[in-house]
Amino acid sequence: MEFFERFAVPHPSPAIYASMVAIGLTVIAIIAGLTYFKKWGYLWREWLTTVDHKRIAIMYLISALLMLFRGGADAILMRAQLAVPDNKMLDAQHYNEIFTTHGVVMIMFMAMPFVFAFMNYLIPLQIGARDVAFPRLNAISFWLFFAGAMLFNISFVVGGSPDAGWTSYFPLAGNDFSTSVGTNYYMIALQISGLGTLMTGINMITTIFKMRAPGMTLMKMPMFTWSSLIANVIIVFAFPVLTVALAMGTMDRLFGTNFFTTSNGGMDMLWANLFWVWGHPEVYILILPAFGLYSEIIATFSGRNLYGYKSMVASMVLISLLSFLVWTHHFFTMGQGALTNSIFSITTMAIAVPTGVKIFNWLFTLWKGKIRFTVPMLYSLGFIPLFTVGGVTGVMLAMSAADYQYHNTMFLVAHFHNTIIPGVVFAMLAGFTYYWPKMFGFMLNEKIGKWTFWMLTVGFVLAFFPMYISGLDGQARRMYTYSEAAGFSMLNMLSFVGAAVMAFGFVLIVYNIYYSVRYSPRNIGANPWNARSLEWATHTPVPEYNFAITPNVASSEALRDVKNGHDLFPGKYEKIHMPNNSGLPFIMGVIFFVWGFSFVFAMWIPLIIATIGIFACMGYRSAEKDHGRYISVKEIEDTETKLRGA
């Protein structure tokens, strides 16, 4: 029994026991369902072993939506706890765990896979490629992300959640102050999914540089591909910093080293610096692809070319460079001195310039356009003013002298949610609605979609704008309660109401999917939105090989050119080379999960066995002879006839 005691949750509550039961029942239901409907083979053949970028994208999408609800449940719990003063619903420990997991889940396991879903789905289609450069590696990336996400999520019921904040500052995150295994989960789950992210970065850059269709020069790429290219370059240069920081943190916690401790020469500020050298570029990894999606959507629904293509690209390159030069602004109050703070104030404010350029480019794209107010367009139009508010408060926070007032208050919380929700989440939902027909062959219901948009927007403003005021009044973030005399009650109640409205909005998305699956018409053609770029030039649903004939591209708006008489698909069918499916990536994901779990609980023998297993998989792959397969001209003709006939 002693062996199993380590898996117990240190601060149990009825909610956690209820979750355990719920998780158990869900697992049983999934297994029973798969067995009853005889879907195991289908699941294995079509999904778990797939290397098709489109299917991997859909798996990312599903994971992101699931994590959105996990993180959203945390959010609503926090707002409920703070809705009234002196609330006893959650205790301090439980509240700490919830704000920590909310942050990590939303950034690493919701926003990142959401972005990767679009990168995976769209980049090969937008550049006219058959797949990504390394399809097998792409599957490994997904399964590593998934293993990391699952590992992080079971912390809640096995051993205890991390409770040191999503930034996990030392010495708080060290053994002295974080005694449960929670922070081990943080370190190791992020390490595993971070490896997957790095591989995606390498994969996508190689794909974009080497696999573009004939005629597509870099400056003729659709804007989403450009934004992804730059985001992936940031990934490749930022994630290794996180890798090192997490490795040091793990060693401090499990091997007794003194990197971030306060004794034997350790330096706690080193963690803060390393974390934000990764952490600040990370927010641009999320926002740049979001900007790319907005660019696609605004151009389509304005019926115009994107205004200022070159300045869009230049501003993103500039943002990516500046993103590495601002990290200190996350801790102006933590003792750098006036000169350092001033330099980082200026670099931070400088980011507002290229971002402003992009805002004006979108506005000029709208100028004199024939605007169609579809759901994706509503999100984009809501984004422009709301994100600008977030940007302006960002410049306020950038002033290091004034930051002594804002630091660690709800003002900061309001600011970063104000950039991430209208910036990233709205973009993801816009892209989700916009590309849904390309992915699944039918549209989401517009009426429900518009309701969702308005609920999310109104809910967002209600939930977060009061925090600006309560923050300026001195309400600290990460405090589990406050007294009535503090005077924050009304503002926090408003926030709770806003959060509840947003929650209804997210539930409506699920209802919309259900409703559209049942009632949406299926004969929508290849280009239901009347869009302009290459990804809409192939059939819906997209065949496995994407394009029967490699397109010959003349501009960034390839489909627009077709209407002006350009021959996008010259030549005739030839046999197409495609990669084989493989079970290895999934198996590696499982082994990495075991590896991570053993590491969290310092169980060295399973850890060593899992490590050997990982290297055995790599060795097997190295020795494996796998030259892929060919799709014959006959098969292509059959598929094309069938898809065209629909």
Partner: protein
């Protein structure tokens, strides 16, 4: 699989070209990894706590031997790639074999060095300085160890399948990796050992 014979073997197919570019990008990430380790090393180098400083524990002899072994192995892996381009299977295998042996010898000396450090009271837990020292060296050493297994796999594949576009590509990429580890070692030699002993 189209093979373009006007190009060197390692570049002769589309997939080969993708692999090489992808690996260069990976090396970019590796530069960031070691860059972060070096930055942390310079931050923590004087934070020795109650433990020893670098000048008290570094010994020049094993370090010089390690340097000599690794630099020579970088030369021999270059010869291996040269032989691969001349389609000389035997010479390719011989030079990869020599490279791996030199790498193994390097690793042996490094393990001796680590044991020595722990023995004289400069272990992983002693101070922030010893932790970052052993982590930086250890990360490099772990890369060399991984390279030894990887190189052995490639050697076996060349033996079994000959010099094909695939094995040629693999040995070329392995050589990039090996040269990279050499470059990292030059930085370690200069900025950890020599600077530490000054």
């Amino acid at each position: 699989m189209k093979i373009d014979n006007s190009l060197p073997l390692e570049y002769s197919t589309d997939q080969n070209q993708l692999n090489i570019l992808g690996f260069w990008i990976f090396l970019g990430a590796e530069i960031m990894l070691f860059g972060t380790l070096f930055a942390s090393y310079f931050t923590l180098v004087d934070r020795t706590g109650a433990g020893p400083a670098g000048a008290e524990i570094f010994e020049i002899t094993p370090v010089l031997i390690e340097t000599l072994l690794l630099l020579t192995s970088s030369f021999t892996i270059g010869l291996a790639v040269h032989a691969m381009r001349l389609a000389n299977k035997k010479a390719t295998m011989a030079f990869i074999g020599i490279t791996l042996l030199l790498g193994l010898a390097f690793l042996g000396v490094e393990i001796y060095e680590f044991v020595h450090y722990v023995h004289i009271g400069a272990g992983l837990q002693t101070s922030a300085f010893t932790a970052i020292l052993l982590t930086t060296l250890g990360t490099h050493g772990a890369h060399v160890t991984f390279g030894l297994f990887w190189g052995t796999f490639i050697l076996l594949q060349i033996k079994k399948r000959g010099l094909t576009p695939e094995t040629g590509n693999k040995s070329f990429i392995f050589s990039l990796y090996w040269h990279f580890l050499d470059v990292v070692w030059i930085f370690i030699f200069s900025f950890v050992y020599l600077k530490g002993m000054m």
